[in-house]
Subunit: 238 residues, 2 copies
DNA sequence: AACAACACGTGACTC
DNA sequence: TGAGTCACGTGTTGT
């Protein structure tokens, strides 16, 4: 009458799983209800083939559940025990870790940018370990710690404001590529509330280049330049 | 008219003429076979209550699967598409991040606390709450963590992921230009932790076009696509 | 063919 | 009593 025999069941709720587990489930007890009637005619497929897939499927499910439980055990985010929540929490947790990672990386790259800003084009192309596998961190040669370290500043390499025709001013700005440079530049320009005709930002190698076409006449050119300069400065120094 | 709440995956599932494969099983079957139709008096259970639980359960499954996909989208560990592998990879990835975290933290605290007596018995093996509260040296600013900033959603007008050579995948994405679109797009791509070779974003008229060259082989193409899709969806719907 | 992965509908169960 | 979640056995589908 009962066929539930497996022991692991129900403890997703209330938990405190007392797990019982063994691999290689070659044969578990339990008569799989392929219709009773032992040793009836044509026992060939009806029994063997049928319940082999049953036990196979059973194992698949069990394994996935174990994995899910293991997933929850590495994510200290615990809320609910429902499968869906487990995955959700894991996602949130990973994203949190990502953000942490980014912050720390920004800090490090900020720390090691203590040297002068040489304008040598580096052109180093090997992207072997951009992230993730080994955060390396060069040998500590920079002991200029002290002070506060905030998210990496914007290092301007080139900055030009020129006129184009009567009513258009072109702003072009080259920075070194740090962790949040693109985002910051976008935010910065957005905060200036300019009449932007078209803007473009591209990142390659270790550079970020931003070009903005602004609707403004020649008179406002210098003003615009100062505006942007101060915005960048304000962004770098709190 | 609005279908934002659910089903967001299907919207941009249609195009991509090149890519022919990937099963992606059929859609809803529609017409739940509630067996016999009229005749039998008592319409009480047969129809309403019976298939309400069916459709409910159907939704549960669907939701969980979406979550699993989303989980895979944040873990760049990608191997297989099978559910079990997804969870497994996620676990491995979290553990890797944990280890990295610990290493870096050790380095930092080693580097900057040269001398003072520290109670550094913090986290030898304290799985549980390693940094839910997270002491760490919080970077002073960058305080746009969550909440707020509820601005217009990202409206995708075109989205394409194509391969270019062996090891490069090109992502191109066109959106309508809203208040924060550029910033959000930049943030979104940054949060994915891709190996970006070069990226470009340009705004003109009422469009924003972003192009990203990612280091990835052909296999990861579809995965990458889903990753971005889910990131956008997650960005639009809280 | 036999296998692995999946979605489905359904009974059992808890809150 | 009704809305949630779960495990189960089964049918289908790519490899």
């Amino acid at each position: 009458m009962e066929n539930i025999s497996d022991e692991y069941i129900l403890d997703w709720e209330t938990n405190t799983f007392l797990q019982a587990e063994e691999l290689q489930p070659s044969y578990l007890d339990e008569a799989i209800p392929t219709h009773n009637d032992s040793s009836s005619q044509d026992g060939t497929q009806s029994s063997l083939m049928a319940n082999k897939s049953i036990v196979s499927e059973r194992n698949r499910r069990k394994k996935l559940n174990e994995r899910l439980y293991a997933l929850r055990s590495v994510a200290p985010n615990i809320t609910k025990m429902h499968k869906e929540s487990i995955v959700k929490d894991a996602i949130d947790y990973i994203q949190k870790l990502h953000e942490e990672e980014r912050k720390i990386q920004a800090e490090i790259s900020d720390l090691e940018s203590a040297g002068s800003s040489s304008k040598s084009t580096i052109s180093e192309f090997d992207h072997e370990e951009t992230f993730s596998s080994n955060p390396k961190r060069v040998t500590s040669e920079s002991f200029y710690d002290s002070g506060g370290s905030r998210s990496s500043p914007i290092e301007v390499l080139e900055f030009r404001v020129s006129s184009m025709g009567e009513k258009t001013v072109v702003v072009s700005l080259t920075c070194s590529k740090r962790s949040n440079t693109m985002v910051k530049l976008c935010e910065m320009f957005e905060s200036l509330n300019l009449e932007i005709i078209s803007e473009n930002i591209t990142a390659f190698s270790d550079r970020v280049l931003k070009t903005v076409f602004v609707q403004a006449d020649e008179k406002e050119k210098d003003l615009l330049k100062i505006k942007i300069e101060t915005a960048i400065a304000a962004l770098n120094a709190p």
